[in-house]
Amino acid sequence: MDFPIISSLIILPTIGALFILFTKSSNSKYQSSKYVALFISLANFILSIYLWLIFDKSSINFQFVENREWLSGFINYKVGVDGISILFILLTTFIIPICIISVISTIEHRLKDFLIAILIMETLMIGVFCSLDLIIFYLFFEGGLIPMFLIIGIWGGERRVYSAFKFFLYTLLGSVLMLIAIISIYWISGTTDVEKLYEIGIGEQYQKLLWLAFFSSFAVKTPMWPVHTWLPDAHVEAPTAGSVLLAAILLKMAGYGFIRFSVGLFPIASEYFVPLVFALSLIAIIYTSLVALMQEDMKKLIAYSSVAHMGFVTLGIFTMTQQGIEGSIFQMISHGLVSAALFLSVGVVYDRNHTRLIKKYGGLVTVMPKYGIVFMIFALGSLGLPGTSGFIGEFLILMGTFKKSFLVATIASLGVILGAAYILWMYKRVVFGEIIHEEIKSMKDLKKFELLILILLAVPIIFFGFYPEPLINSIETSVTSLIDNYNTNLTQSIAKK
């Protein structure tokens, strides 16, 4: 047994959290807690980079698998990574230090608790992306509700209680059905081990109901129309770092779940429900883009744009083509970076002017030129300009969709135009134009740490926009094997009939 690198990735943030919990808070403004949190999260990032480097990209198997007896007799603690999950782990470990930098420099109220919550969150999210047992996955997936509920509720805005409750109850309601499905799978197949389930498959007659149960959970978390309403509320009320966590990583858990479980475990049902997913995704893309167009609150606008972008992701996954799924994964990573950056950018002006209303701004470029530039990069990344990572994702998804259905792809392309419209219009109203409000004149340009985290986010957005190869290369074999598995299942089922 080699060094348990994945378990270390999972446990390390929790150790940091415990360390922070038990160090006495002195009057030095939690200096030690800040450094511990930052250090732990950076260490985790380096560890995950190392994992990525030693990861064998040509293998279709799960790697670094750890399999330990957990609930004796029937459930094992099993974790491992393949090309898909490793990217999400990287995304998580990359976003968390950025969140921590943003938190320690903007939040003073109960900072220590916030750091603990973020680190616990990191443990749970990494756990979600590498668990290879359905029960273990469920534990991590649901466990994330607790810290997120607290982050929204304690550090949120005015309607934080309402939003926190809505977030919690919505997602819990979706997930309990998934729990029933997971237990049913255990009794149907005799195991909840994902690798074994891939091999033996799940009986055709059960697949549709099980798929729906998983779908109810993932659809809420994605979020798909019409169960997306918790997201704008949660985003608007959450503190900046909370929004970043939500948009960049939490939403991706559902997209990942679709690929790993819905498509992987229930191929026949997935094929059957493709029209449903396409319809919901298209509504999400068009409808929420239109809604985003009319938003007056910047955070709400970005929240709705997240729903639209996640609509592209679900569309891409259920095209079941190499390009579509690769594009979806790419889009998720890209959206993770871009939406995190956009929320941080909104946070920057919110910290100065204490409002998120678009009409309270205007002409920022004259007082904050640096801010104007970085914000522009992210706005362009969000609308998918060639040369940013957003383009690659949307392009691949649309390519996959055209293979499947011309009509669907055409409608989805309209969403790209709308996406450009709302984000550019917001950018214009906030950054360009005359200065109407007196407060704007006294606003200072980006501080060092703000510039640092925004540039940290801008670099990969542009880099992967020009050179997507490292990411695509890592997911390619895994996606191919997923689609092969999917197609063999389908042909077998047709042959039976």
Partner: protein, 471 residues
């Protein structure tokens, strides 16, 4: 001469009760001493039982008293939680001036009654144990006799409980009349599902038992009694009688009437669904913590019964695990309530928790863990309790029960979240006192760690429980 060794714990307990009673009568001002002696004797009892654990499946007195793995495990749970109830409430009874010498003795007699109930393999023995337990509980509920609510709750509990005991006794006599015996094993041989007398007997006995664990629709007494009794007694009420009643449920349903499960399964399913939904919905509007925990325990009993409805060993084991985890969560919750003390007065309204996290971060953190666990959110212990039960239920393809159960956890999550919201999101109030005695701190720390760290090694409990095979 029968082998009396196996009931050594019961004999020891009876002798202790008599000795302490005499001691208390002849020595003045000995209540504190008796209290400590009681705790000590419970610890000795626990050790005696542990010693007995290897012995399995023995019976005595013409097969009317059974000592098997179920009985020993349930007795260990009962006495273990009894010890912690004693540890947590010592200061409370001192401050509320109810530290009379009868108090610990009544608790001991009630525990003796429960032990008899748990081991009973005969209707008469079972009834004897039940009454011994209940009589002590009536007095305990109204122990704070200067308090109007306490006396009211004692009386209410007495009247309703007497009614249910009457029904239960009627059921016993019906079963005796139709099967010709009171012994569970002989009833099994003599009864068949065609006999309506037996079916009626089962229904009456189930009503009586459902009353004891406060399952809907026989729950009416619970909120008032929980609220009115002194908190120390409520802690006792919330945990110990449920363990005893649940083990009687298991033995009564699965020994004499295992073959007739088509007759009683619907009743159990109804009781559990009604309790889960009612417990979840009715708790939402509560303002008093004790009242709220009463409704929450109604809901939790619904989940425990769900396992029994499955009709398999796995279901029984699920229910036992459920009750084991439930009792830890409840002990933890009540330990937190004992900490809400300011100027020698205990607070029990939800509003009093407002902003607790600012002044008492550790206490609030424990409450957070406990409440999320009660709500059944993974990875805390409360999730596993539900998980085991629903594993068994879904194995039997009872999807409706599973879906109703899990949906009601979502409703129930709402009121637990409301308390968390009050603790963490609201404005702070005055500080509470922090000088708690060691027993209380120990209980809270141990139980919180158990709840929080349960997921690291969940096999511990399942391995013990999986040895309990009734069918």
């Amino acid at each position: 001469m029968e082998n009396l060794e196996i009931i050594l714990p019961e004999i020891f307990l009876s002798l202790t009760i008599m000795f302490l009673l005499l001691f208390g009568v002849f020595k003045n001002n000995s209540s504190k001493l008796i209290y400590n002696l009681t705790t000590l004797s419970l610890i000795i009892l626990f050790a005696l039982l542990l010693n007995l654990y290897q012995v399995s499946d023995l019976s005595i007195f013409n097969n009317s008293y059974k000592v098997d793995s179920l009985a020993t495990f349930m007795k260990l749970l009962t006495i273990g939680s009894g010890i912690f109830v004693m540890l947590t409430s010592s200061k409370y009874i001192e401050i509320n001036n109810i530290n009379k010498m009868e108090y610990p003795i009544l608790i001991l007699s009630s525990i003796l009654g429960m032990m008899v109930m748990i081991s009973s393999n005969d209707l008469i023995v079972f009834y004897m144990g039940l009454e011994l337990q209940s009589l002590a509980l009536y007095v305990l509920a109204s122990f704070n006799r200067e308090n109007l609510l306490s006396t009211e709750s004692g009386l209410k509990y007495f009247v309703l409980s007497a009614l249910s005991s009457g029904l239960l006794l009627y059921g016993c006599s019906l079963i005796y009349g139709f099967s010709g015996s009171t012994n569970f094993n002989i009833i099994l041989e003599n009864s068949s599902s065609g006999q309506y007398g037996i079916t009626f007997g089962i229904v009456f006995i189930l009503v009586g038992l459902a009353f004891k664990i406060s399952a809907v629709p026989f729950h009416m007494w619970a909120p008032d009694v929980y609220q009115g009794s002194p908190t120390s007694v409520t802690t006792f009420f919330a945990v110990l009688p449920k363990i005893a009643a649940l083990s009687v449920f298991i033995r009564f349903l699965y020994v004499p009437f295992a073959e007739m499960n088509d007759q009683w399964q619907m009743i159990i399913i109804f009781l559990s669904i009604a309790s889960m939904i009612f417990g979840a919905v009715a708790a939402i509007g509560q303002k008093n913590l004790k009242r709220l925990i009463a409704y929450s325990s109604i809901g939790h009993m619904g989940y425990a019964l769900t396992g029994l409805a499955a009709g398999t060993n796995q279901g029984i084991q699920g229910s036992i695990s459920y009750i084991a985890i439930y009792l830890v969560m409840n002990l933890a919750f009540f330990s937190c309530m004992f900490m809400l003390r300011r100027n020698n007065e205990y607070y029990e309204s939800i509003e009093d928790l407002s902003g607790l996290s600012k002044n008492h971060p550790l206490l609030s953190f424990s409450l957070l863990i406990i409440l999320f666990s009660l709500a059944g959110i993974p990875p805390l212990a409360g999730f596993f309790a539900k998980f085991y039960v629903f594993m068994a239920v879904i194995e039997q393809k009872m999807y409706f029960l599973a879906i109703v159960g899990l949906l009601s956890t979502v409703i129930a999550a709402f009121y637990y979240l409301r308390i968390i919201k009050i603790i963490y999101f609201d404005k702070e109030k005055e500080k509470f006192e922090t000088d708690h005695h060691f027993g209380l701190k120990l209980t809270l720390a141990l139980s919180t760690i158990f709840i929080l760290a349960y997921f690291i090694y969940p096999s511990g409990l399942t391995e013990i429980v999986s040895k309990i095979n009734i069918i």
